[in-house]
């Protein structure tokens, strides 16, 4: 009898998390919560980049030919050495260094909002860019490539089996990008680049921080994926929000 009771308790314990997740089976199916409703972290608000890493590659235009830290191919080196901002201006491509692979590395402010229940929008004041992160299954690339490409988003949840969720993070994968620059001085990425980003939050002295880890995979122009991590501080409001147009030179 005692043995059976013990076994029964174990069975209940092991089945408990499954049972919790299976609630509703047999009854009317409740719609799954939306991405917005089920967000494990709140990324919305105004964020300012703290540019204390790679300062001379981010805050000012580096010298032509300087690609320190970026593992480029020989083909990419040709582009680096032939960078011509005047030609980019003439071609109407002043936004080449503001595309998805580079935009989170800019000295900029972000304004993150929910566009709707399944779409997170990231406005960037530098270059006046807008990124759209869509939750749900990844759609096949369609349409003309754009600077910000097509981004598919997914929550990663903290906690685990049987444990209440604690925090989490956001993963965003972006494809179908227009070829652009990783840096203002013409270090290129191609149309085949895939940009994978991880968004993590952290408390910090006096507020909250956002850490964005960016992985750029581009076999054409990169010998290995480029991995950089950028950090932002949360701001109380948009009083310092300062949209500026793209520039090929500054």
């Amino acid at each position: 009898m005692r043995r059976y009771s013990l076994l029964a308790l174990f069975a209940v314990a092991i089945a408990l998390p499954v049972a919790v997740h299976a609630q509703g089976r047999g009854g009317p199916a409740a719609p799954p919560p939306t991405a917005r409703a089920s967000a494990p972290i709140d990324l919305t608000g105004y964020w300012v980049a703290v540019v204390n890493e790679d300062w001379r590659y981010r805050m000012v235009t580096p010298a032509k030919g300087d690609y320190g830290g970026v593992p480029i191919t020989k083909e990419a080196l040709q582009i680096v050495n032939n960078w011509d901002p005047a030609a980019d201006e003439k071609a109407g491509e002043e936004c080449k260094s503001y595309g998805a692979a580079a935009v989170m590395r800019l000295p900029a402010r972000l304004h993150i909002t929910w566009q709707d229940d399944t779409t997170l929008k990231v406005d960037v004041d530098a270059g006046t860019q807008t990124r759209v992160f869509r939750f749900g299954p990844a759609a096949a690339a369609a349409g003309t490539p754009t600077w910000q490409g097509d981004s598919t988003a997914q929550w990663e949840r903290g906690g685990g089996r049987g444990a209440p969720p604690v925090g989490g993070s956001l993963t965003v994968v972006t494809r179908n990008v227009r070829p652009g620059y990783l840096r203002k001085n013409g270090v290129p990425y191609s149309a085949n680049a895939t940009v994978t980003e991880y968004f993590d939050l952290s408390p910090s002295p006096g507020g909250q921080m956002l850490v964005v880890t960016t992985v750029v995979d581009d076999p054409r122009y990169l010998l290995q994926p480029l991995i950089v991590s950028s950090h932002f501080k949360k701001e109380a409001d948009g009083s310092k929000w300062d949209p500026t147009p793209c520039s090929a030179r500054w």
Binding site: L6, V60, Y67, P71, A108, L226, S229, D242
Partner: protein, 303 residues
């Protein structure tokens, strides 16, 4: 069934329930973590600790006292026999060029980690992150080069706090850190990438917390803690000579970065306002992009 038997059975059931609850708790705890143990390669696609230029405090939020101390530093101090093996403070683990080897000491009964150790390098002490809930030492306890680190899991993030470090340097070229410096490290793992966020707070030399993020990639090839142990040797400075230093206002290298990259002096000297986007406005009309790079422009492409 008699009342004694029923009571005995209830006691057994209650004990069993407690055992099951404890098991559930341990299962939950185990799944609320990621595996940090292993070898993590540095890709060095971002800043690594600068020692190429004697005065390069770019991106540091130094206060006036910190800046003055930094400008007084002369790298020839490293030739002094008593300073050769001082090593760098713990924040060097996200500033140096090397990868990390991390291992754990586990409780043989419960299986949970008692501590994680980030292996040291020749010039940085190992970091033992105590996960067993022990308190930080008294504020009067000895400060060491490696400091004292406690850790805890917050969801899928490992949070470690380091205190009790000796005074040292924020970078290898002299910006100082005091013995009151604390470091909070957060480890985020996404697949084979681990990003570490480090926040350094120093009430003596920093105008605001100094933040560093660095990503590592899981390596199939083992990374060994780097040795051998540092051994001091005579490098030409007799023991009775004074400590090499500069008068801060007369540091001969203060304009080197300005000449080489056109960076304003405020940037070179680590003023905190230079780290924020609006600073660009103040230099937009005066900054001159340097001539095309011809030497040391980046890694050499091999295909």
């Amino acid at each position: 069934m008699g009342s004694h038997a029923m009571f005995s059975q209830m006691v057994t059931l209650r004990r069993s329930a407690l055992v099951v609850l404890a098991l559930l708790a341990s299962v939950s705890s185990a799944f609320a973590q990621f595996e940090i143990v292993g070898s993590w390669a540095a890709r060095n696609t971002e800043d690594i600790s600068r020692d190429s230029y004697p005065v390069d405090y770019v991106g540091l939020p130094l206060n006036d006292e910190g800046r003055t101390r930094a400008l007084a530093y002369n790298e020839s101090q490293l030739a002094m026999i008593e300073r050769q093996c001082e090593g760098w403070p713990q924040f060097y683990f996200v500033q140096g060029p090397f990868g990390l080897r991390i291992w754990s000491e586990d409780d043989p009964i419960k299986g949970n980690a008692i501590s994680y150790t980030i292996g040291g390098w020749e010039d940085r002490a190992p970091m033992v992150i105590w996960m067993d809930g022990r308190p930080e030492p008294s504020k009067y306890a000895e400060h060491t080069r490696g400091g004292f680190t406690t850790g805890k899991w917050e969801g899928n993030t490992l949070v470690a706090r380091t205190t009790h470090m000796k005074a040292g340097f924020l970078r290898k070229n002299g910006p100082p850190s005091s013995d009151q410096t604390t470091m909070t490290s957060r480890f985020f793992r996404h697949g084979d990438i681990m990003t570490v966020l480090v926040v350094i707070e120093d009430p003596i030399y920093l105008a605001e917390p100094h933040i560093i993020t660095k990503s590592f990639q899981l390596s199939a090839a083992p990374i060994s803690p780097i040795g051998p142990p540092c051994v001091s040797t005579f490098e030409g400075r007799p023991l009775d000579e004074s400590v090499p230093h500069f008068v801060p206002e007369k540091n001969p290298f203060v304009d080197e970065l300005t000449k080489k990259f056109g960076l304003p002096r405020d940037v070179v000297l680590g003023r905190r306002e230079t780290m924020y986007p609006e600073y660009r406005k103040t230099i937009k009309d005066t900054f001159v992009t340097q001539p095309a790079c011809t030497r040391n422009c980046g890694a050499v492409p091999n295909r």
